[in-house]
Amino acid sequence: MKKIKVFASILSLLLIVGVFAGCAQNGEEGKDEFNYPTKTIKYVVPFNPGGQSDLEARRQQKPLEEKLGVNVVIENKPGGGGAVGWSELVRKDPDGYYLTGMNIPHIILQPLARENAGYETDQVNPVALFQGTPIGLAVQPDSPYNTLDEFIEAGKAKPGQITVGGSGTYSGHHITLMQLQDKTGAEFQYVPSQGAAPSVQSYLGGHVDALLANSNDLVQHQDKMKILAIGSKERFEPLPDVKTFMEQDIDMTASIDRGVAVPPETDKRIIEKLEKAFLEIAKDEEIRAQMKEEGFLPLAMGAEESKQYINEMKDKYSAILEKVQAESK
């Protein structure tokens, strides 16, 4: 019996020490004056390690540490196409020590398409957008269609008989196709894959007629495809010969944009500090050159600009989705 008592008291002692240690730490943070950042910042990537969002965060990690003067740890919290990470983000304390990578249009489309995505678009509080990935439309090299017009005409003449591969449902690729169909009246059969790599594979194997793909995949596989159009506003530098949708009289842009966000109601001063660091990195010439080489569009949009952009896209996308859902009923 005695031994058990000793045991219990040792354990409770440890517990008490632990609680005190924890409180002491909390106490230090309680100071009111603005002194940020003072401790390690957690930078969550809501996708798997090795994905583009992950690689981007890891590219920023070292420069961020230099600019902010504290450690930055990257944590992958994948699941539900990013939804798990964003659901967690909007429930975190807005103390500036918890950032999460954000992807557009994911954060717009998931709450629109799912009954309970776990977060709302306007809860994701943007800090900056630093990378764009224009989405392009490509067909097989031996395809009879040489221009976007021919492709659209075929989609009108043979509605639903041309298959278009892409990544995911209610994703950037899916909404791009919906937009294209909405603007032109053509009809295609969308065949979604789980992720960009499988959809490219399906295309290279000839299992689909056309492909919606991210700019980096287009750049990588350009010699095995005829790229009909790209979703950037202006000509995309790494693919100078490809016309945009706008140039071909279809008023749409299509892109997946990467940025970073903080929990709702984060102090303005914190956002400003983070925004400054992220934009400095985004404007770094070496990093911009690397991004272009890999087939991306470097961006440098601050918090306000990003918020506006998200709202703009949200209006556009919800209109399309409503229309599509009304038609299918």
Binding site: N48, P78, A83, V191, Q220
Partner: protein
Amino acid sequence: MPADFIAALSNIAQPTNFLIMAIGVGFGIIVGALPGLTATMAMALLVPFTFTMDAVPALMGLGGIYVGAIYGGCIAAILVNTPGTPSAIATTFDGFPLTKKGKAEHALVTAAFSSAVGGVIGAVVLLLLSPPLASIALKFGPPEYFWLSIFGLTIIATLASGSMLKGLIGGGIGLLLSQIGIAPLGGEMRFTFGLYQLQAGLSLIVVLIGFFCIPEVLSMIEKKFSQHDSINYKPQKGVAKGIISDLIKKPILLLRSAVIGAFVGIVPGAGGNIAGLVSYNEAVRWSKKPKEFGKGNIDGVAASEAANNAEVGGSLVPLMTLGIPGAAPAAILLGALMLQGMRPGPELYINYGDITYTFLFSLIVANIVMGVMAFYGARHVAKLINLPVSYLAPMVVFMTVIGSYAIRNNIVDVIIMILFGLVGYVTKKAGFHPGPIVLGLILGPIAENGLVQSMLMGKSAGSMFEVFFTRPLSIILILLCLVSAGWPLISNLRNKTPDKEADANA
């Protein structure tokens, strides 16, 4: 090209490069041995450094980690019945029974030798046969994936030790569990019962840890003097030599397993777990004593390990020649290549021949280094099992908790793991083997993707029949399914004659 070969060999022989690779292998083995930590995660840790490193050491380090981690998975599988990585699922079937018999070292040496042999064969396949194999990989479209997964499900017959019916039910449960989360096509939330946390679905690794490990811990402690206390590993002399000379006498087993592994590897999306399971299944099928499997047969360990390490080389085939990462670790390598401005594809071999061949040769060397490390480590690692249950059981629980948390940094996964662990304990007592359940969980998404995508293709082509039943590769896979499903009947017929004679004699 000969010039590239020479450059490659001298690159590898350079002490710093070699050292980075060897450290990578060692680090990979440790990470792989810890349940929940995967090759992908270990490689991602190296990524920030590759931004500033030269291409050769960066790629060699990443390759070393990949090779090491896939081997490392067998250690936890053999010692505590928990696959350290999903690739080692099939290793548990015979590896852990061997440990129970006090033959942990036998199992570990078998794994070391067959992993190295399998790994080298896989890397040689990658080096020599990439272009033709890559074109086969591309022929795998949605219908082929569907039939491949059906073929995979026929393995249930082997995995269901005891009752076939329970095996089928287990497979069905696994398939059903795989449906939780966002539907791959259509994007609906399925079977989340109103919980947004479940939209991510169940992580294979989390369920794996739960189903394999927690029931084992509970069986360890359920009796005061459990059989586990009698598990004792006493170092014996000559075990390693005996095992290796034994394995060398079975070249067909090793070769077949490695070829299966490499072939499964080239199909993007089918990973080391499927490679190991298929290879194990074939080892049982072609064995003269199939009843011995599952009770501690070193052939079972060899089949699984040779296949999953050969898969490493195979999984890099579509990456190097087509730029398609067939597996998650390959995706990280793709990132590292692109970062160096090296675009995968035929031009990789032409424009960056020296670096590319360095990488390919280094994989062969990494496998040998891995084999040596594993071989000499086996004896020491096997001693871990001598810990008394009172220490071992709580520590294994502790490890499962860390592992299931680390995989997605999510506490919900820990809760799910414990829940499935307790369910797994009860189902095991009710006579359900975890193998078929996990198989269903792995194959469910592949089957559904293939099925629904094929149906969409059929809709636009105007004929379902044409899509499912007329493509040449599909027909081959359908035949394989039929042979595999009908095998018990065939082997019954084969065995009938001697049985009758035996009866007549009796």
